[in-house]
Amino acid sequence: MDHYTHYRTGAPLADTKAPDGPIAERWDSRRFGAKLVNPANRRKHTVIVVGTGLAGGSAGATLAEQGYHVVQFCYQDSPRRAHSIAAQGGINAAKNYRNDGDSVQRLFYDTVKGGDFRARESNVHRLAQISVEIIDQCVAQGVPFAREYGGLLDTRSFGGVQVSRTFYARGQTGQQLLLGAYQALSRQIAAGNVELHPRTEMLDLIVIDGRARGIVARDLVTGEISTYVADAVVLASGGYGNVFYLSTNAMNSNATAIWRAHRRGAHFANPCFTQIHPTCIPRTGDHQSKLTLMSESLRNDGRIWVPRAKGDTRAPGDIPEAERDYYLERIYPSFGNLVPRDIASRAAKNVCDEGRGVGPGGQGVYLDFAGAIARMGRKAVEEKYGNLFEMYQRITAEDPYQVPMRIYPAVHYTMGGLWVDYDLQTTVPGLFAIGEANFSDHGANRLGASALMQGLADGYFVLPATINDYLARHPGQDPVDTGHPAVAAAVAETRDRLHRLVTVDGDRTADSFHRELGELMWEYCGMARTEEGLRKALDRIPQIREEFWRRIKVPGTEAEFNQSLERANRVVDYLELAELMCLDALHRAESCGGHFREESQTPEGEAARDDEEFSYAAAWEFTGTGTAPVLHKEDLVFEYVHPTQRSYA
């Protein structure tokens, strides 16, 4: 068996769906070029949607409105609990209501630049165009965005941009947008157009004659394994940040749907592009089960600093102004505290590595609102950030109105995901990936308030238009026989895997393996990566995997409500995905966005991109567990935004 790192480079990959021509006209011309399905014929088509977050919820609702028969799944007890609900800060849109020089073109530019020139231009431009429609749609649904006294929508600024284009609903924008999508979906459930399966988790993809035709899913209450067949499958199952064990993701967010799809032939693109969010509450001990984000919007008014001197243990209030280092404002005077996330995170890591970190273990920096409170008054600060302050106080038992918050970076979002073309179709025909599950729009770093924008753009507007084309081109697909060998094989593999998990009867819990893997990934594939570290991780992961299958202990059986089994089965997939992430990070010997290779930096310590070598999206093809995957490169062509060294100074 070849060593995992001895991967082969296969045929290049190209996005064949984005039309040529001026970028601003491509989406229109794609929509015009796409074939349509006659409204009367749509109900004959079944579409499976996995996940009910912003992307899945909006897609399910919209496809059902169009007349398709939608079968939708979520592992939660209700579609309203998908983790999009936890997004705090806001959603970007190029409305230019502020008359501050914003435009579709500028949002497009900011996003490509923010992503460190590793995103596909046509996709990003489409995203910027659609952003304005999203706000209209959400307002019409009754999403209670923040408003000015004149009754018009309020906006605020986010990292990496110099305009105010982020729409928000206090610190709960994700919740409000998700409830809008959930309500639209609920309407379609009531109308009988969506068949919803809550507490049901997708465990495999069914591919017949090269096309995605269904999924294998487990009813989490009874443990029953069932197959569901369809004419197309849409994955909206979110990102894979939980590989790191500690992240801001929900406890049960997982990579199983996309990883199983990858194993069935969908290429996985840029798995090493993970976003470390700069403003999270630092961890307090080994019991920690997850990390909590403090919205990026706090950086609008809060100032980030550490003591000038190493090992300064004085209380923050006792450190005089002259002995404080507002390092972001010092290093990046024009963007100051609002530099993009990757830069803010790395800067925090650097000052902590220098020994200037604050709080237990020196793993933290101050986010100080004393100035804002003095300037705006406590009441105004409360109005803007009240619920975030409250949350911080509840978790840390410290009052941020009195003492500065302590924050530290944490894994938050994954830019990588299943490779998709302009139509959001993966390399398996009939399998689509939307939202965080795909790799498309954010390049190597996502700007704040852009995840909500992308999830809803994909779900409300892009997928419903492009999936028509696929279904129109495959009108009379034979109904899938549930006795088909491919179906039986997928079911048998799933059953075997679960059965193995409950019968090993070892002496370690799934959580203990997950934690071990997470610590390894944070150490070697986290904020800063080196060839040496990545090779170490790549040596270690197969060992953990081997140990896992020898020592895992899952109580109970597979035929019942069994949360330990759910967790163990997810860890199985993390143990494979982690390996691919490290390999991708190793092969990409440049720094870009969230991927920082210590070997590749400017003299000032900024990420140094290598456009000669790496101006491509790396799409990996699965060849077997632990065997070297095949790399397919999609060359990135920049016709409109010319790659430069990102500068926020």
Partner: protein
Amino acid sequence: MRLTLRVWRRKDTRAPGAMKEYEVDGVTPDMSFLEMLDTLNERLTLEGEDPVAFDHDCREGICGACSLVINGDAHGPERTTACQLHMRSFRDGDTIDVEPWRAAAFPVVRDLVVDRSAFDRIIQAGGYVSVPTGAAPEAHATPVPKAAADLAFEHAECIGCGACVAACPNGSAMLFTSAKINHLNVLPQGAPERETRVLDMVGQMDAEGFGGCTLTGECATACPKGIPLTSIASMNKEWLRANRKVSRG
């Protein structure tokens, strides 16, 4: 900290349930309540006992999955969700009772996990604005007075956890239902369906077997998002108004 936990255990809907006692050691004040349960579950797993099943997901107090009655209070002694409750709210040596939500409309699935799909069906009955994707007018076409927007937001904050039902001696879902009705009915976007929404949602709420409201206020006290009790009065008003409108045809 060392604690004694008494946890409701019930394997499935057929088996009878009972409170079971566990000693938990090594609890620190910074742990969340759910992290304390995690430690117990890790130990139970290694000892070969089924871990305690409980719903949880975001652990940030926003998804509404966690649903524990702690010492008789939905979500425990603090005004927040169980996942945001920290062990510093308890003292060394305490005995803590942990039970599932209790209501006929929320059957227990296993241990501390209940089925709250009745809430989804209430929303399906009318908790939305009928606006198909693409049909929306320009966002600024209809200004919404800030007061109305703020009021709508206050009610839209509901996380659908069901603490109101769990706390109510009548197992009533009035606070949950009123939160959604008030969110949408106060906005101009929700106006065209104002009457049908309240009639259909209240009808579904009754059909699910929730109790009526006797205004004990327990729901509002337990609500982690602070949805006010007056929300119910506003819903009643909407409901009466809708009946008058509908009777006029």
